[in-house]
Symmetry: C2
């Protein structure tokens, strides 16, 4: 019973509601198995496709995920913390604690795949890096994984006129990474701009990040500027939104 009252909302919505409420109330905790299609069919007396639709709602919301042949399970959210500005962030402003428990330490994100190449700059990159139509860029593509699970794709573009011949064009950029190399080349980044947006992943992104359906990606477009506002690097990052919390701190 309990489903014969307000018939205004569709059945599948009401079933989804009850499951969502049960998750919120803690009846089903992270990782627990939810009632499956068959359970919902008998419990609510609906057809398979209707029960499916109800479970689909929760999956689309990112609350649950299904494993074929196994069942539908409640998802967990234990995000990594990415700090836009490392300084200032911790001690000084530690009084009001963060919402997201920062127990996410001793979890290590490592590079999984690296590919370096020199390519003709796409138009969008040319615009950002202030390049001409003929200019080439040094492209560094990387993937980061956390405990086997990929969480971040990053593609860096640097003007070939700047990077070619340096360690930036090698897979191993040496201590300090490309920013240390840029500094040695007289183009030390002194300012950064990051643009953030979010959307659902493309097919390719979903595959590369092995994202479960119903999870968006966060896109970060970072431009690094040397002195005199000269752009020296453009970095396009794609993050699994379920794995990250971004943090920015700044003074008034």
């Amino acid at each position: 019973m309990a489903s014969t009252e307000g018939d205004r909302r569709p059945k599948y919505q009401r079933i989804a509601d009850s499951l969502r409420e049960a998750i919120r109330a803690g009846t089903y905790g992270p990782g627990d198995r939810l009632p499956g299609e068959n359970d919902l069919m008998t419990a609510h007396g609906v057809a398979r496709m209707t029960a499916r639709q109800a479970l689909g709602v929760l999956q689309n919301e990112g609350l649950a995920e299904s494993r074929k042949g196994a069942g539908v399970f409640v998802r967990a959210f234990r995000p990594l913390r990415r700090q836009g500005i490392q300084r200032l962030a911790r001690e000084q402003w530690g009084a009001g604690r963060s919402i997201w428990s920062a127990d996410a330490e001793n979890r290590r994100v490592v590079v999984d795949q690296v590919a370096v190449s020199e390519e003709v700059a796409p138009e969008a990159v040319r615009k950002v890096l202030d390049l001409g139509g003929e200019d080439t860029v040094c492209v560094r593509r990387r993937r980061y994984v956390l405990e086997e699970k990929p969480v971040l794709l990053a593609t860096s573009y640097l003007p070939a006129s700047l990077a070619a011949g340096s360690a930036i064009a090698h897979e191993d950029t040496g201590p300090g990474g490309i920013y240390a190399r840029l500094a040695e080349l007289g183009s030390r980044p002194v300012h950064f701009r990051e643009e953030i947006r979010s959307r659902m992943p493309t097919k390719e992104e979903a595959e590369q990040l092995s994202i479960s359906p119903g999870t968006p990606v966060i896109l970060i477009h970072r431009t690094a500027f040397a002195d005199e506002g000269r752009p020296v690097e453009f970095n396009e990052m794609t993050l699994d939104a379920a794995s990250y919390v971004l943090e920015y701190g700044f003074d008034a």
Copy 2:
């Protein structure tokens, strides 16, 4: 024809692929109507539910949106720009242009709904604002709309011990907003921390923002600190991800 070859992928996926490709190629531009259920049924010789599933894929990806009784249409993306730090941002580092064309000027975001109340602080808010179990907070809920369409929900929490009796507890907070009032009360915010994440909207969020399915929300949790790291405001913002690009700039 054209659907009897590689039968490895499900039919609905292949139909979705062909539509996605057609959108990418420009066959269907933003706002255009896509082939509907009936069209796909006859074109690919599938059942209604299968054609529906294919269209559902595109809607989940945020590529298309359906209007009941009218059809399925390609979605557009014309984001607003939200600057985390207004200073520094424009002139000084304007050499490398942004990816997202900033033609979004002369579009005005206005407050649509305001509600002010004094409530017992939820636990999460207590933790952030460093309050005890009995303390109450002044809660300001606002909704912002852009040309009739809601784009942002914001809920501010301030310690009642600070805000009660001041203009902060009124709907109209006067010139300069609550930060000016806080300054008058000797609690001028000098530092901000913003935490950003993204996920699919809840039912309530989707309704309040009238979000089309397949669009995530961006959550910004901002904490304002007065001197000595004292947290004085906690602001919980929910943004329609299809309407916003966030921008942060900072020095190395």
